[in-house]
Subunit: 230 residues, 2 copies
Amino acid sequence: MLDGVDFTTNKKPRRRKRDPDGTRSAILEAAGKLLARDGPEGLSVSQVAQLAGVNRGTAYQHFPTREQLLEATAAWVGEKLRLAVFGGQMADPAAALGDPKMVAEQMTAFAMENPELGRVWLFEVLSSSRPDNDPFWHQYWTQFEKFAKSDMAQPGIDAEVHSVLMLLGTFLWPVFARSQTRTAKDRQELAQRFSNEILRWSLYGTMRPEKYPELDARVKKAAGTSKRSR
Amino acid sequence: MLDGVDFTTNKKPRRRKRDPDGTRSAILEAAGKLLARDGPEGLSVSQVAQLAGVNRGTAYQHFPTREQLLEATAAWVGEKLRLAVFGGQMADPAAALGDPKMVAEQMTAFAMENPELGRVWLFEVLSSSRPDNDPFWHQYWTQFEKFAKSDMAQPGIDAEVHSVLMLLGTFLWPVFARSQTRTAKDRQELAQRFSNEILRWSLYGTMRPEKYPELDARVKKAAGTSKRSR
DNA sequence: CAGTAAATCAACAATGTTGTTGATATGCTT
DNA sequence: AAGCATATCAACAACATTGTTGATTTACTG
């Protein structure tokens, strides 16, 4: 699954300057790259250390076990993701309701650029016992819940289910798209189709079209008897 | 990740009766169990052979490489899944339009019972270059496309995108549910919430509610300008 | 400028894994 | 019943990986 990238260039048998934080970052960055290339199964501490230009022992000093390294990397990716999608905007409870469309676009862009990485992150979070600990998950969730409660949304939405579905689609569709296409053009088209379908779905299932005049609205709704919003 | 099951009971150092097909099945079955327990990363040919009560060499005779064993197992699971969901009903092009609700229920049941297995299968298929080769995928796809084209469905559905989304949700929600809950009761509730949200979604996004009188219909739709249904 | 805590590294031991190969037993065919 | 193809197995070789430990260097502190 070499993807045109070559990580075999290691020509620094020199001792690393003492710099705990820097080393830690280097390790995480390397882990991220390898994760993005091979997925989680193929990640060994050896490779990570090598790519990071760090002794394996050092890596073990920073992350006592392979598993913990994986977790830390996922969290690190989550933070990166949060920055890419929400920019500097803090996860402040009083934060304004961001533009969902923008969020979706940023998210999709990230997913298309790093399909494996996105997939890994999502799984780590999905299987974690406290997804809310992840920075991106937390902010996404907060924001979506706010939207679901607003009068922009259909009533009765189960925000949790819906969030998970959206994240699943956004991060895993690219995995599918990658394996089905050869050219970037094809991928672009698949990405487009995905967006379209999501939009169609949202219009008829999530958003109140009449609140989004720029999109041809044609739906009417009645209050449901649903009780759950979380 | 021991899940209450113990596979360490192997007390048969006796030579296996010659039976190629049986052996092959035994290997696949063992691989399936291990896959369901540990996920794909943790699967080694050694373990599989041991659990199957077969010499490792024999396993290599049947499946030249670990990777091929994984593929074969996925296909095998796919067939199992097809049977569980569609029963004996053949993938015949002239087959009647099955009951989508029934299909969804069967699928959900399978996914809840074998979360890891479902996940593994889905990934193998999603990343395969020809998903259509998988027996279950093929039949599901066929059936859904038929539905999408029928007058029971909203117009303009992108059947491929939609299928992928449905499968993603159905097979990966249980992964989430598992990690969030301790009791079977909680899991049951999460499964219920998922079904509800999917139904709500389908009503407003996929199915024409007026065609499903038994569910309170309250939607109206207008023909879209979408061109693609694949 | 000592002295110290700790960050980095090299080497070790213990496993586990993958493929391969040549021996052995087994069922089928004639 | 003899012969043969092959399904099954045991043993081997080559690695890779995981943790661990003790030495070495580096920055900081008084």
